[in-house]
């Protein structure tokens, strides 16, 4: 039976690989028909799948509608199918070999059709039957084959015909069994868990809690430092009780301590990632709720360094908006007093002041590092810099454990959006929405694909037809996820880290990038050696015998140079096995003719160059030897110059390595005969050297530039400046001291800032230019053996124009590069997992050394491919006035999402500030998006939708909020949040004068829009909060306010406030006529009904 199924599956795979789009449509229809028949044949099976037309019950129809797949769904299902086939195929191939390696009983999966395997097998069977039905593509040409990533299916045809089987499964008997059956844990892990049960040391922290032990075990190898069992148990208890404290009665003391600034381990398969990246969503749905929520809380808190309160607020949307701001301040002040009374805190604070940093509350056992910032000083943005690299490592880890095929970067985001898509309409799993959405946002901070971004926007801005389809909370969660993703990957985040790399290599502590280059006629670095690279170390592991090697260039017999990072021994932390600082070390090795041992002839340690973890550094080394030996001196002058971040740190003597026979022969005439013999042998066989980058390094590097000629300081400094933040930055408006140039009023719509970003690829050109201006003194003394390598830089197409009439500067030789090798993460082939070198063809395979080239495709850039920044405007329409006023009753009735006693609707109150912040995150430091938003009139659209929300609020003056605008004017906390978002949007558009002016006048200073005015149903809370901010702005820059806004609206509001005690507002006609203009007419009509009569 298994062999028959195996054969059918293999046929299915082959059929799938050769199907074209048309076949696919027919196949989906056929699968529906088949599943209908199958359901009739197996009436007792709970695995059902019926077309929508057969549904009689509305509930069933809703279920199917919720799971009606779109184009992306179809693609994901196909991917799952391929995974399933691969998975099953691998298992059955083992079966064919006669070795039963799979722990699952195949019979049980057949006998128990409710299980996950049976569901996938059912899907396989569907396709198999479709295959049998003659749905093979008649053409097996490559052009007709389906590429999964590029598949485009007419959704109008596929949406109604493809149905997804819903598996209603009984709760699993044991969580361990579920994880075991899913392959998250294996038999060896069970044995390790048994050991944990008997571990006396752990029993002191926790006793007899299997779930806690399991969760602890899953996270034990996830990060360094690892989480403690006690914390895991406490988190499980918290999730079980579900009574989350608020800020007023809980501070940091209430937060369960977790390690801070953890380093995600990428070397081994992570059980945590296995849960998330499991091939379908069923695993997440089978795990018990408490365990899963604790799992997500642990994971997100470890990734973001958040406290419990911050997690509750940002992830679970548990914010008490009714809380007075003053109470919050009082509680913070009270906490500060308590802290000041704590002597240990004082000691830590004093120490941090001395060292220039600030300490955290975390102790050494939790990865205390002196450069960590205090919680009060660390906002979310300051953590994002480290967050993006953490998320890259997380997804790098996912690559190892989650996928077998090469094109798997950003896989986690795709998986998570699929999970979100599935659970969004199922009330039983709505508790998963918040953590999944948050994790999706965090994941997308490391780069988002066009498909995921489009899916997020589609889900969030889908027309509001039914609440059960895509709940409002889910939409808000997606908005927040998108905001996190955008802010996390925005360019300004990179600037904070001294570099603007959007491409980098991520190293997991393995062998790194390693390539042996053979066929060289001589040691290329005989007289000159140079290198330049950006690097960032996550941690400096201490205690090992071998410390991280940044760059190693060694010959086959050991000669060469090595630049490594040596942790400071006195500053290591035994428990976390890390050092908080390191220094740079340059070692020179001579060749050992026997090749038996390393001959380190000199080691140069640089105690003045202290390197800290999680900070980008640019290291440039130039090792030169004078060629004037015998002319001005009897000895050669061998010097090394080290530059750190573009500044020359030291110049010291350093001998050149004696590599192979050549250098030995120079100093030993007695070996002349031997030299000739060896030279002959080398010229015959060729010389080889090994270049290794980032061996043992836990961190990231930028492009590696390796020079075999003397390069100037200016060149090295140029390479530093290219990556130091100049590239990719948006030129800020040149107004200092906050001065306003009145001429800007006239050029508001004409402003265009030129993008003066220097492309990183210009580095090669800089080097070439250096060469071009060198007057031909520095002639290449090394010509690669392979002529093809030189052609890359020599513009080979001009060879036929080479003639003797050309001046020497224009000859082909003068265009040759000083670069020996460049490994650029931007020049990598993700599919083949290879980093390309265009100079000598020394391509290197990345996966061998646990390296991954990562490209941060920020949402700011990607949104241009899905319709531009104006695609965000539909979110305003959907969430603010797309029939949302009729859904509050349903929102309040839904108690599945509301936790901790909070109503569901309260989590939505921050929608308007969140939407404005989302737009701000997309235009911040991104000139193209800012110009696009200005061009499409996005600010006007936003104003009109907010005005629409206000009208909804004023037209339905009732006790319960009918609009998202009402809470903004009622609760000071929300008012402050709104003002922060408005200020953020104004600040984000500061690089585009037109946009900033428009936001300033139409949103921030739009008094009729925000202030309560004559609307008695609106509270004056927003007025009290907003107007002081506006007065500060007016005092700081009155000319700007005068030019952009004027005083008309202020006078009008003054009039309203003065007359508000009377029963009616008696505004004189001349005042009205003076105030009514095109700008504020909408707000005035809404605020003052008499205006309508006046206009009529």
């Amino acid at each position: 039976m298994y062999k028959r199924q195996d054969a059918s599956r293999r046929r299915s795979i082959q059929a799938l690989a050769t199907l074209n789009v048309e076949d696919f449509r027919r196949m989906s229809v056929a699968s529906c028909q088949f599943t209908q028949e199958a359901s009739i044949e197996r009436p007792l099976s709970t695995n059902y799948s019926r077309p929508i037309s057969d549904m009689n019950s509305n509930e069933d129809a809703d279920v199917i509608k919720n799971n009606a797949v779109s184009e992306d769904d179809t693609i994901d299902k196909l991917e799952d199918f391929v995974h399933t086939c691969e998975f099953e195929d691998s298992k059955l191939s083992s079966w064919d070999d006669g070795v039963l390696v799979d722990t699952h009983s195949s019979e049980s999966s057949v006998e128990n059709p409710q299980s996950m395997e049976s569901r996938e097998r059912g899907l396989c069977t569907e396709f198999h039957e479709a295959d049998k039905g003659g749905l093979h593509s008649s053409s097996s040409s490559p052009s007709g084959a389906i590429e999964l990533d590029d598949l485009s299916i007419d959704s109008s045809n596929s949406l109604g015909s493809v149905s997804v089987p819903i598996v209603v499964e009984p709760p699993p008997t044991s969580l361990t069994d579920v994880l075991l059956s899913a392959g998250v844990i294996e038999d060896a892990d069970l044995a390790a868990l048994d050991e944990l049960h008997t571990d006396k040391r752990l029993h002191e922290q926790s006793t007899g809690d299997d779930d806690a032990l399991l969760l602890y075990y899953m996270f034990s190898d996830f990060s360094t430092p690892a989480v403690s069992l006690k914390s895991v148990k406490d988190i499980l208890k918290t999730e079980a009780r579900r009574d989350f404290p608020s800020l007023s009665n809980a501070g940091d003391k209430e937060s369960i301590p977790l390690p801070r600034d953890v380093v995600v381990n990428v070397e081994q398969k992570s059980k945590v990632l296995s849960v998330i990246l499991y091939r379908n969503h069923q695993l997440l749905l089978q795990i018990p709720k408490v365990f899963l929520m604790a799992f997500f809380r642990l994971l997100i808190r470890l990734l973001t360094n958040e406290t419990d309160f911050e997690y509750n607020e940002r992830t679970l949307l548990l914010v008490d908006w009714r809380e007075e701001i003053t109470d919050g301040k009082a509680s913070v002040a009270a906490r500060e007093e308590e802290r000041n009374a704590d002597p240990s805190y004082q000691v830590r604070r004093d120490r941090s002041r001395r060292t220039g940093g600030s300490n955290t509350d975390g102790d050494k056992s939790q990865g205390f590092l002196p450069f960590q910032l205090d919680d009060e000083n660390r906002d979310h943005s300051s953590r994002k810099d480290a967050l993006i690299y953490t998320m890259v490592r997380l997804q790098q880890c996912g690559t190892i454990c989650g996928s077998s095929h090469g094109n798997s970067d950003k896989l986690a985001a795709r998986k998570l959006i699929r999970v979100f898509d599935v659970i969004k309409g199922q009330k039983g799993y709505r508790h998963l929405l918040a953590p999944v959405a948050r994790l999706l946002g965090l994941t997308c901070a490391a780069g988002v694909s066009e498909r995921v971004l489009r899916r997020i926007l589609t889900l969030a801005s889908a027309p509001v037809v039914s609440f059960s389809q895509i709940p409002l909370v889910a939409r808000l969660l997606l908005v927040r996820a998108l905001q996190i993703a955008t802010e996390g990957s925005s360019r300004s985040i990179f600037l904070r880290g001294k570099t603007s790399f959007s491409n980098f290599f991520s190293f997991g502590g393995g062998k790194g990038l390693r390539r042996t280059i053979s066929g060289l006629s001589a040691w290329p670095f005989r007289n000159d050696f140079g290198m330049a690279v950006w690097f960032r170390a996550e941690t400096f592991a201490s205690g090992n015998s071998k410390y991280p090697v940044l760059l190693s260039v060694r010959s086959e017999d050991g000669g060469g140079i090595e630049i490594s990072i040596m942790p400071l021994e006195n500053d290591s932390h035994a428990e976390s096995n890390t050092a908080s600082a390191a220094v740079l070390v340059i070692s020179v090795f001579d060749s050992d003719p026997d090749g038996m041992e390393e001959v380190e002839v000199q080691r140069l340690r640089m105690p003045g160059c202290i390197l800290l973890p999680r900070i980008w550094y640019h290291v440039a080394v130039r090792h030169t030897r004078s060629r004037m030996k015998g002319v001005f001196s009897l000895s050669t002058r061998q010097q090394v110059l080290i530059m750190l971040d573009g500044k020359m740190m030291t110049t010291e003597s350093l001998t050149f390595p004696r590599v192979s026979n050549e250098d030995f022969s120079r100093e030993s005439k007695a070996a002349a005969f031997l030299q000739k013999a060896v030279r002959r042998s080398i010229s015959r066989t060729g010389m080889s050297l090994t270049v290794a980058l980032g061996e043992g390094l836990e961190g990231q590097t930028g492009s590696l530039y390796l020079f075999h000629e003397n390069v100037s300081d200016a060149t090295l400094r140029s390479i530093y400046e290219i990556g130091s933040g100049a590239a990719g930055t948006v030129v800020k408006a040149r107004h200092h001291n906050n001065r306003w140039d009145s001429r800007r009023c006239d050029i508001v719509r004409k402003s265009k800032l030129l993008d003066v970003a220097i492309k990183k690829d210009d580095a090669d050109e800089i080097v070439v230019c250096q060469r071009r201006h060198s007057n031909g003194d520095l002639v290449l003394d090394w010509v690669p053996a392979s002529s093809g390598t030189l052609a890359v830089m020599d513009f080979g197409e001009g060879e036929d124009q080479e003639s003797f009439e050309l001046p020497a500067d224009l000859s082909m030789a003068s265009f040759s590069s000083k670069l020996f090798l460049v490994w650029d993460p931007a020049r990598s082939m993700a599919v083949a997992d290879i980093a390309l070198d265009l100079h000598i063809g020394a391509h290197v395979k990345m996966a061998d050394g646990g390296v991954q080239a990562w490209q941060v495709d920020g949402a700011q850039d990607v949104i241009g491919s899905v319709g531009g920044v104006q695609a965000l405007l539909t979110l305003f329409e959907t969430l603010l006035c797309g029939g949302v006023e009729n859904m509050w009753r349903e929102v309040d009735a839904d108690q599945n999402f509301g936790v901790g006693g909070a109503r569901s609707s309260e989590g939505l109150w921050s929608t308007i500030p969140d939407l404005i912040s989302l737009v701000a995150s997309f235009v911040r430091d991104h000139g193209e998006n800012a110009r696009e938003l200005l061009r499409c009139g996005g600010v006007d659209v936003i104003e009109s939708f907010v005005l629409c929300s206000r009208k909804i609020a004023t037209n339905n003056p009732s006790s319960s909020p009918s609009s998202l605008f009402w809470p903004l004017t009622t609760y000071p906390k929300l008012s402050s949040l709104l003002i922060e978002s408005l200020l953020a949007l104004t600040s984000a558009g500061s690089h585009c004068v037109g946009l900033e002016t428009k936001v300033f006048s139409r949103l921030l200073f739009n008094i009729p829009l925000w202030c309560s005015g004559t609307d008695r149903c609106l509270s004056a809370s927003l007025d009290i909060t907003l107007l002081p901010v506006l007065s500060s702005i007016a005092k700081a820059n009155p000319k700007k306010v005068r030019d952009c806004v004027g005083i008309k609206d202020m006078v009008f509001l003054l009039k309203i406030f003065a007359d508000s005690e009377q029963g009616k507002v008696s505004t004189p006609p001349f005042v009205l006529l003076a105030l009514v203009d095109t700008k504020t007419i909408g707000g005035l009509i809404n605020a003052y009904p008499a205006c309508q009569h006046t206009r009529q």
Binding site: I325, T326, A1020, D1023, I1024, L1027, P1028, V1029, L1030, S1031, S1032, A1034, K1035, P1038, K1039, V1041, R1042, G1046, I1047, K1048, M1050, V1051, F1052, L1053, L1054, K1055, F1057, A1058, D1059, S1060, E1061, Q1062, P1068, F1070, V1071, A1074, L1075
Partner: protein
């Protein structure tokens, strides 16, 4: 109520900040409209009330409107007092009121002609500041902008003067076009209103409200006589006024609000201090002619101030004695005082002698005591007037000339 007042103060602070940075007609217009509306409404309500009762009581929204009116008028006064002048404020003011004399007329009608002492005092100060900036001489028409010197027809025009004139006319035309519509009528059209006429109108209005002149108007009259914010003083600088008139809210609320304590300190009663210089003659003449209509206390206080001023500073004597109105005004005051003294003496002789029966009732005793008290006051006032008159006359006699006679 507190929140509303806070919001009003914040809005007024923003309005002042914006207007002080440079005023445009589109900003000035709604502000003046608001003030006009409130002052007119207040005039209507007060005029109805004053017929029935003497004191005005404001409650509720009317009180709030009155507060906003006072603060708004104070803002206008400070805007006009700022030196150097706020860019385009005079042009904008005149544009909103139709013409230069229209602006002066608005000040007189809306602010000076008010039943409220504070508003009236602010109107006087506003008028002083406005005339100071628009009048070049007492009999020259009020005008905004640069005043052109009268052309010297006797001297022959230099070479190329025609071309330069054409260029300057073109430049002026371009500038006027750039200032927008309505400027032509404001700047180019000569005004028929002179400073002398404006002060006479002011005098008439103050005389009409003589019964309601309080401490604020008195302080404004002192301000009319002396200038304690001369050109070198930093009290009228924009930075000083912005820094003090706009104060920060408390920490919880944040932001800025208008500080009326500073405004009251600046605008309320202030005695003549040393170092102050006398203003131009029109203002002093107005005050001297108004002296006889003031209440006794105010008259005495003002005479004391003037006497102290002339005794302290010779330049003040020169300035005062140079006025054409000082002698008749003081002579009238002295004659009135002497007449009253003579009448008082008759009454006192009658009371002291036995020609008349002793007062039969308590009312008569009270009247007699009041008369005796006022007699001392009249004596004091007569002494003050005589001292001031003697000082000025002595200065004239010492100076000699025809004016003495």
């Amino acid at each position: 109520m507190g929140e509303r007042r806070l919001v009003s103060d914040i809005l007024l602070a923003m309005i002042f900040d914006i207007l002080a940075s440079g005023t445009l007609p589109r900003d000035m217009s709604p502000f003046l409209n608001l003030l006009s509306y409130y002052l007119d409404a207040e005039w209507d309500e007060s005029s109805n009330e004053t017929e029935e009762k003497s004191e005005i009581s404001r409650t509720g929204a009317r009180h709030e409107r009155h507060l906003i009116s006072v603060k708004g008028c104070a803002i206008l006064v400070f805007l006009l007092q700022i030196k150097p002048a706020v860019p385009s404020i005079l042009e904008s003011f005149a544009h909103c009121c139709g013409s230069v004399e229209g602006a002066a007329g608005w000040i007189l009608c809306a602010m000076v002609n008010s039943f409220d002492d504070t508003i009236r005092s602010l109107g006087v100060r506003c008028m002083v500041a406005y005339i100071e900036k628009t009048a070049t001489s007492p009999d020259a028409p009020l005008a905004t902008g640069t005043t052109l010197e009268p052309e010297n027809t006797s001297s022959a025009p230099p070479e190329g003067a025609g071309a330069r004139r054409i260029q300057s006319i073109l430049a002026v035309g371009k500038g006027l076009a750039g200032m927008g519509p309505g400027v032509r009528s404001v700047v180019v059209t000569p005004s028929g209103l002179t400073a002398r006429v404006a002060y006479k109108l002011l005098w008439h209005l103050l005389r009409g409200h003589r019964a309601r002149i309080g401490k604020h108007t008195y302080a404004a009259l002192v301000h009319l006589v002396v200038d304690n914010t001369n050109k070198t003083s930093s009290l009228s600088s924009k930075g000083f006024i912005r820094e003090n008139l706009i104060s920060s809210n408390d920490r919880v609320i944040g932001g800025f609000r208008i500080n009326m304590d500073f405004a009251n300190q600046m605008l309320l009663g202030r005695s003549i201090v040393s170092g102050c210089s006398l203003r131009d003659g029109l203002g002093i003449s107005t005050v001297l002619r108004l002296l006889r209509y003031l209440s006794t206390d105010m008259r005495e206080k003002l005479l004391c101030e003037l006497l102290a001023l002339v005794e302290r500073d010779t330049s003040s004597i020169i300035a005062l004695s140079g006025l054409p109105d000082w002698q008749p005004c003081l002579f009238q005051l002295i004659s009135e005082a002497m007449e009253r003294l003579g009448r008082q003496n008759k009454i006192s002789v009658t009371i002291d002698g036995s020609t008349r029966d002793p007062p039969s009732s308590e009312v008569e005793v009270g009247i007699s005591l009041n008369l005796l008290e006022s007699a001392s006051t009249v004596e004091k006032r007569a002494d003050l007037c005589l001292d001031l008159y003697a000082t000025l006359l002595g200065h004239c006699v010492r100076g000699g000339g025809d004016k003495v006679w």
